[in-house]
Symmetry: D2
Amino acid sequence: MIETISISELKPELLTRYLEVRKHSEDICAPLQTEDYVVQPIADVSPPKWHLGHTTWFFETFILLPNFPGYTVFDSQYNFVFNSYYETVGARVIRTDRGNLSRPSVDDVYRYREYVDQKMQEFLTSGLVAGPIATLLELGLNHEQQHQELLYTDIKYILGHNPLFPLYSGDYKTLINNSEERKIVRIPEGVYEIGHTGDGFSFDNELGRHRVYLDAYEISNQLVTNGEYLDFITSGGYTDFRHWHAEGWDWAKESAKAPLYWHQIDGRWMNYTFEGLQVLDLDAPVCHINFYEASAYASWKGKRLPTEAEWEVASNQFNWGQRWEWTGSAYLPYPGFKKEPGAVGEYNGKFMVNQMVLRGASEATPKGHSRNTYRNFFHAHHQWQLTGIRLADGISR
Amino acid sequence: MIETISISELKPELLTRYLEVRKHSEDICAPLQTEDYVVQPIADVSPPKWHLGHTTWFFETFILLPNFPGYTVFDSQYNFVFNSYYETVGARVIRTDRGNLSRPSVDDVYRYREYVDQKMQEFLTSGLVAGPIATLLELGLNHEQQHQELLYTDIKYILGHNPLFPLYSGDYKTLINNSEERKIVRIPEGVYEIGHTGDGFSFDNELGRHRVYLDAYEISNQLVTNGEYLDFITSGGYTDFRHWHAEGWDWAKESAKAPLYWHQIDGRWMNYTFEGLQVLDLDAPVCHINFYEASAYASWKGKRLPTEAEWEVASNQFNWGQRWEWTGSAYLPYPGFKKEPGAVGEYNGKFMVNQMVLRGASEATPKGHSRNTYRNFFHAHHQWQLTGIRLADGISR
Amino acid sequence: MIETISISELKPELLTRYLEVRKHSEDICAPLQTEDYVVQPIADVSPPKWHLGHTTWFFETFILLPNFPGYTVFDSQYNFVFNSYYETVGARVIRTDRGNLSRPSVDDVYRYREYVDQKMQEFLTSGLVAGPIATLLELGLNHEQQHQELLYTDIKYILGHNPLFPLYSGDYKTLINNSEERKIVRIPEGVYEIGHTGDGFSFDNELGRHRVYLDAYEISNQLVTNGEYLDFITSGGYTDFRHWHAEGWDWAKESAKAPLYWHQIDGRWMNYTFEGLQVLDLDAPVCHINFYEASAYASWKGKRLPTEAEWEVASNQFNWGQRWEWTGSAYLPYPGFKKEPGAVGEYNGKFMVNQMVLRGASEATPKGHSRNTYRNFFHAHHQWQLTGIRLADGISR
Amino acid sequence: MIETISISELKPELLTRYLEVRKHSEDICAPLQTEDYVVQPIADVSPPKWHLGHTTWFFETFILLPNFPGYTVFDSQYNFVFNSYYETVGARVIRTDRGNLSRPSVDDVYRYREYVDQKMQEFLTSGLVAGPIATLLELGLNHEQQHQELLYTDIKYILGHNPLFPLYSGDYKTLINNSEERKIVRIPEGVYEIGHTGDGFSFDNELGRHRVYLDAYEISNQLVTNGEYLDFITSGGYTDFRHWHAEGWDWAKESAKAPLYWHQIDGRWMNYTFEGLQVLDLDAPVCHINFYEASAYASWKGKRLPTEAEWEVASNQFNWGQRWEWTGSAYLPYPGFKKEPGAVGEYNGKFMVNQMVLRGASEATPKGHSRNTYRNFFHAHHQWQLTGIRLADGISR
């Protein structure tokens, strides 16, 4: 999966980094009431307490249990409750059932975290942490960071689909950066290299670095804004089948005719945000649109979405990180991709069908977690992530 | 709906009774953890906090708001959240969605109860409570008592479908009364009267008292026990279509081959109870079987279920109250049944199709709530109530 | 099931009657094109060729195979294809799959009928037909007559749901009899007897005759007309929840707001009939309404549907036979009902849950097939039979 | 869509070619009985009479109606019945409903074909056929050829899912070509060109020719055989999640554990073919596997599927045409792909999400219809096409 972490390099900061990452998950949940930890409005959204337990189970199952002599699991039934999709590690709770489980309680889950964190501290200072374990640890931390973003998006879904529209937290501040001047980046045709390289951490799906041939193309340095997307809506974009994929059109006919969390109230467009229900900010990058919507918008503009290779090659010429940006690339293995043996081999490869690649990062992505080779992926109909649109187009020779 | 409560009779105890009933709901929930109040594993089961809110909403909506001058609703959005099925009173949360709502929080719901109880105290001591209101109040209290039984059955479902099989409460004691000598009660053919009469409270579906002609029949003074039901299982009852209704057979082929909460673990029959997972008590009355199972069992024994008229006519000749007993009668209006105008008219009549009548009461039924004219009703496939079997048969002339 | 047919009485006409009934099924299908025999638009509707094959299979399986020495089945795989719901006789094609089978072809099915009819002729003239077989034969003929009505209703559904609205047959003439003077029949309270008696054929569900107590009631000698039902529609009957059962209301909100086959075209109400699309005949009895609609209409009129006992007791005081009339009675066993052993015991009893009784007959019912003790039954949501409404009401003492 | 057909070149043979293609569709259906034309066992399979009508509707709607002065449509309601997915041309019959329509009859459909063919003959010899029309005509003929392959696969599904397992035709002979010597083709890394070029017909999705960079790879000159695939089955391939995509694994757990049409009868593997139920031919290329199965097989062999670019670049070094070969490429637009305006623009582009590319051709593909740039596409779970597996792998530098 990952082979490039040099143990000598990482070791001094390992414990600090472990504790910081673990604390951040709990910080995200701090504004919640106990009840918010429990519910699961749709199958894609997991209860926050499940995220807290599942990330802990990862360290217990893959680090402590096989490597820390004498380690005793906190509760032998938690493997059943907190396993997500690892077929290797036995029966898992059906994903849609997570919201039915009132126990373990939130307090139990925090006790579980405390117990595992204590044991991890002992283990990380024990001198037993050899290279492959450090690699696994780094994977565990990045895994928890992925769930930190999911914690944000799932909490938003839980609160944003409650008829009382509760605030997430009065302290939360949405960061919008749209001060940069608009320009179109032009990239000439040629052979380029994409994929992760170097010593830092990466997921297995970013490896190995390889050549691609790109025709000349242009790509915007800016994301599509709410105001621009509203033009698409008001000019009938959701009722003109010509811009939609066939299955996107089926989706659009049955679903709301706007991004998730947009509500037209008394003729005014409102937007549910982490700061509560707000008047729609026309200058902010559009968010919570799915691949069908992103494609239809691009088609309506006479443009298209960039491929992931185009995005990566041009990525040093624009600021990215406000939204996960839908690309026109399906999530497929890079040349030479091989699954790792064992459970960690299930991490990425088995999802490589019927999903689309997103590039970038969002305001909910933990600092330092993403990079320009990072391959995020979701199904074409998913709206609940912090997704946006960057337009591209070919340049005729 | 109910016309027979004389206000002079009830008034002195009205406030006491109100407070007692309201307190009992909270006593039932006292052993719960906050998370247990929130989840909804299946559509038929409501979250405990919803029951607590909905019963409170009933008093607010039907008593305080129209009758107590100056009353201000606790939260104007609660009507949307806590209405159950009253089309008259506006949009309601789809029943399956109740488990998605983390807010109002459990604390909010208790505050809501406190607020309404305070206002009800003021109202009940205000001298403003005229006859029709007392009638409505009595309905509200009986309504809350019905939800008290549902609180028990829904809590049992929530905890009993959790892989950790948590206890409900260490204090709970199942009461089993099977000391009576077995005998067969014989009732001769003739015209009998059934239905509610007299001054006490009754639901509209028990009115009015009317004549029925019954052929001679016999009925057991005892309920079928777990041990007897186990004989049915071990002799292949669940795999012999001859004993089943066609749709019962479809149900049996797809579902578990035993009552709800029975688990065969290492060859031994265990039973999840309010006291936790227990070895099956062979002498206790069988519980948590649906109408299909009750009918199939009766067929296997060469008997049948009693009709509700047969049950009522014979009911003073046996002890009832341990289980809600499935009858062979569909839930239909009595002769002369008329819906009340307004929202309370929706209470019973609109459910009079495709459900079966149950008679008796259970260990979860609040004391004094049931009577031998009480018509409980559930769908034929429902197992989650505390249901049992009493056998009957015709007597050839 | 049936015990009362005296063999000496029936024998002379048996062969003639057999051949007449068998021919009538084929006469019903004569106007069809081959393709019309094949399709199954909804699970409740069976392809006409299936009806022709299934009724033949009944004689082959229950009469010839066990009783006619040396009989060879026409095709050993037809048991699999043409069995309907007899669990005793082995695996059956799932009901919804019937419309997927292009083979056996229509010609094959007619050859099958010819073969079985030839063998039945040999058998019926062989002197081997003893009493119990005559009983079974009579059951087989009544069974085929039931399917003759289904042939009509299923053909109507197939053609009436085709966008080309093809005629069934230019020769078909709808018979409407509404010349009788309207009057209200009044029946005093008392003990009455209902159920089949005498030597003639009956189904097991009509036996045995038994006493019922009826309160005084009134019942119309006329069916509700299309014009009267249209008043219900235009006065908002389908949008006023107060008249509907809860599950009827759910049905009404999702479905068409008129009887099956009614189409409002350019502001004019049209009705698909066996004679094609016609202007709605306001004087004809309303047809193709389900139990929810019949109940809601009655509620809107301040009346109710008669129980099946009320219908039967009063039935000699009005002309019936134009529509199957929904009653307010659930389809349940009469006192003393016992299933026959063997496959024929599956005929009726296993359907005695969650269906409603209809009384009378329709224009599609074969002559002589029905009687005033006949208990027809369908699910509350079914519209595709030729169903109508007769109003009743209690009379206050 | 296609711009490159020179009218002068095509004209002389145009009528002959039209008549040949049209006749071939009818030849494919010649062995059918009328009933076989009507049914639709699953949504993906269309009734043969629908294919015959739909391909005819294409010529009527896109050629005759807009271009042939005075043309009168055969039946104005056929647009509703035979439109498939062209939103531009109005309401279409929901795809799953096609099997409910007994009318138009098979004879009507043949009359429709005869009428349109007669008018096309008149039109094609009228001198009115200018360049863009010839282009559309060529599209119509290729469209009909696509449906010719679907006729074969849908007929096979209809007959192969009938419990009588009827033959398609005694004259049909499966052609298997596996005489060639096995070898591994090796292709060095570099920039290659793929996509259609030249004057011949192509679909819009094959245009325009463009460069791709390929890492060095190897690809087999042979397809995987039934015998090889049987090894995968017998060694537990369907029960080892490690080889499967997550959603493929969900599919495999719920579905049959072998290719479509394989039946293990009395311990022997049988295969339903156009020649009826046959003993499985171990040397024939495996057929009727979906993308999940193809991928899992490749994973089990330690190989992978080729990308569509790899396939196309190597395609002149092996014989292809026996099976549609699953590639590892998602069906996405080529660089510079633009939809045509109007209804023909809906032909391909709107399906470019969540489907996989197949390359090659099959025994059911009309002669001359395919080419090595042809991009066929189906959903990952589809088994009912004549699909096979060719293995590839990267070559380490």
